[in-house]
Amino acid sequence: MNVVVCAKVIPASSVTIEIDPGTKRMVRRGVSHELDPAAAAALEEGLRLTEKHGGSVTVVTMGITDATIGIRNALAMGASSAVHLLDDAFGGSDTLGTAKVLAAAIRKEPFDLVICATESSDSYSGIVPGQLARLLGIPALTFAKEIAAEGGKITVKRQSESGYDVVEAALPALVSVTSGINEPRYPQLKGIMAAKKKEIKKYTAADLGLAPDQIGAAGAKERVLTVGRPPPRKAGKIITDEGDAGKQIADLLAELKLI
C-alpha cells in the first residue's frame, strides 16, 4: 500500500504566533518551526499501515524553506521519501489554493491512501482534507479515531457528535485523523542518520503546472480585510496559592452570588 501523508510544518509550540497587519498573514519567517504534532499523528498511522501491509510512505509538505526541519523529522520517523512544495508563489494561499497545490503534487505520486491531520495546530480550519479529496476525486473519510485496511478497503471509526460511526470505502481514499489517534514515535538515531541520505524532492508552481492565478495570494478567494484584536478582557487577578487559594475562590464565588 502506498501512502501519501500531508504534513504541515508550523511555528514551534513555543512560538506565540502573530499576524502581520501589513500582509495580513501569520508570521512564519524568522521563527523556529516543527512538524505539526497533528501531522506527526497522520504520519504515524501511515507508518503503521505500511509496516503491516508493505508499501511506502511519502510525505508532502507545502511550506517555506524553514519547513525543511519538519520534513527531516518526518523522514527520521520513517517516511520513505518527501516532497517539499516550495515557491514564493504559494504564499498567501487560502484553503482551496493549498488543496490545489497538494492535489497537483499528490497526482505525481502513486498512491492508494492519502492521510491528513483533521486540522493543523496553527490555523485549525479543518477543511483542506475535504477539498483535497474532492480535487483528487476520491472519497474522504474524515475525523478518524481508528483506521484499518484490508483487501483494498479502508474502514475507520469516525468521530461523531454522540460517539462514533464505522464507515468504509474502497481504496484509493483519503482519511483525516484526529490528533489522539496514536502516540507518534520519536525518531531514533538510526532513523535520523538514514533521513540525511533521503532525497527531498522540491516542486515549484511551474513544476506542478499550476497557473499563478489559481494559487497563492493571487488565487485566494478568501481575502482577509482587516486584522484586529478583540476587546480585551478586563485584567484578572493572579494569586499564588499559599495554602488558602481554595478559600479565596470560594470567597469570590460567594461575592458573585454563585454559591
Binding site: 479543518g126 474524515t142 471509526k157 486584522v227 478582557r233 494569586i239 479565596q248 460567594a254 458573585l256 454559591i259
Partner: protein, 322 residues
C-alpha cells in the same frame, strides 16, 4: 446580489441542532432564509425550521443521506446551488458541516471562510468576522469571485429566535448517481454521556492534562455538582481517552458560555480558549504561572489543583451547610 441565504439543516440524535436554528435566525434577520434538510428527521423538524425563519425548506427524507455519509448531500447541494444560486450558504462547524463546506468549495471552485462568528452581506459578497488564533485576533474576511459564498459558522454565534412562521416545503429527488455511495456507514455507536449537558450549563468545571489521570475527574464532578453545573474537558484529555468526546470544550468540541467556568489543570491552548473564553467569569487553577489560560481568567490561581480543588469543595460544603 440576491439576499438569499441558505442554511444546511443538521439533525443529530433525532433533533435539529441548535446551531442550525441559530444560523437560520441570523439568516432571516439579514436576508431571505431558506433551509436544506436531507435524510431522516423528526416530524416537527420542518415546523421548527420555519419557526426560526426558513421561508422554504428543500427536503428529501431519503435514507441514502444517512447511510452513505456526506457524499449524497454534497452532490445534492451542488445541484441545488447551481440552479438557485443563493448568495450565501451556511454550515455549522460540525463534522458534517466541515465535510460539506470543504467538498462544495472544491466542487464549485468557490472559497470558504471557516470559523465565522458573524457576517453581513456587503458589496455583492459577504464580510465575515473571524476570530483567529484561538480568539487572540478578531479579523474580517471576504470571498471574491462569482458564485455562492460558503461560510462555516461557529456554534453559539447567534441567538435562536422563534418567529412563529411556517415554511413552504419543496420535495427534491435524492441523487441517482451510484458514485455517491462510495462511503458506507456500517454502524453508529453512541457513547453514553456522563452527567448533565454542557450546553446551557450555568457553571462548568473543566479538566486538562494537569489532572494527570481519568480518576481525578471525580473531584471535578463533585465540584460541578456542588455548583449545579457540569464537567468539561480539553481536547488533550479527550484524545487521551480519559473522558468521552461529548465533554470536549474547544474549537473542535463545544463552544460554551456559562456564567462560571473553572479551568483545572488546563494550560489554555488556542484550541481550548476558542470554546470558552466568552464565559462570564473564568477561574483558572494551574501550576505554571506562564499558562495562557491566566490571560483570560478573572481569577488565576498558580497552584496545585490537587490542593486547591479539594479545599474549594470543602469550603463550598461548609458555606452551604452554614
Amino acid at each position: 446580489m440576491s439576499d438569499l441565504i441558505w442554511v444546511y439543516a443538521e439533525v443529530v440524535e433525532d433533533r435539529v441542532t441548535p446551531t442550525t436554528l441559530e444560523m437560520l435566525s441570523k439568516a432571516a434577520e439579514v436576508g431571505t432564509a431558506e433551509a436544506v434538510l436531507l435524510g431522516p428527521a423528526p416530524e416537527e423538524a420542518i415546523q421548527t425550521l420555519g419557526n426560526h425563519g426558513a421561508g422554504k425548506v428543500y427536503r428529501s427524507a431519503d435514507p441514502v443521506f444517512r447511510d452513505y455519509l456526506t457524499l449524497p448531500a454534497l452532490e445534492t447541494l451542488a445541484g441545488l446551488i447551481r440552479s438557485h444560486q443563493p448568495a450565501v450558504m451556511l454550515f455549522a462547524s460540525s463534522y458534517a458541516g466541515r465535510d460539506l463546506a470543504a467538498g462544495l468549495s472544491a466542487l464549485l471552485d468557490s472559497g470558504t471562510i471557516a470559523d465565522v462568528g458573524d457576517f453581513v452581506l456587503k458589496d455583492g459578497s459577504v464580510e465575515a468576522s473571524v476570530p483567529a488564533l484561538g480568539g487572540s485576533y478578531l479579523n474580517t474576511a471576504t470571498l471574491v469571485g462569482p458564485g455562492t459564498k460558503i461560510l462555516l459558522v461557529r456554534p453559539k454565534s447567534f441567538e435562536p429566535k422563534p418567529r412563529g412562521q411556517t415554511a413552504q416545503v419543496e420535495e427534491i429527488a435524492p441523487p441517482a448517481d451510484p458514485s455517491v455511495r462510495k462511503i458506507r456507514v456500517t454502524e453508529r455507536v453512541s457513547v453514553p454521556q456522563e452527567g448533565p449537558q454542557l450546553e446551557g450549563a450555568k457553571a462548568i468545571v473543566s479538566g486538562g492534562r494537569g489532572l494527570k489521570s481519568a480518576e481525578h475527574f471525580a473531584m471535578l464532578r463533585e465540584l460541578a455538582e456542588l455548583l449545579g453545573g457540569s464537567v468539561g474537558a480539553t481536547r488533550a484529555v479527550v484524545d487521551a481517552g480519559w473522558v468521552p468526546y461529548s465533554m470536549q470544550v474547544g474549537q473542535t468540541g463545544k463552544t460554551v458560555k456559562p456564567n462560571l467556568y473553572i479551568a483545572c489543570g488546563i494550560s489554555g491552548a488556542v484550541q481550548h480558549l476558542a470554546g470558552m473564553k466568552s464565559s462570564n467569569t473564568i477561574i483558572a487553577i494551574n501550576k505554571d504561572p506562564e499558562a495562557p489560560i491566566f490571560q483570560v481568567s478573572d481569577l488565576g490561581v498558580v497552584g496545585d489543583v490537587f490542593q486547591v480543588v479539594p479545599q474549594l469543595i470543602e469550603q463550598i460544603k461548609k458555606r452551604k451547610g452554614a
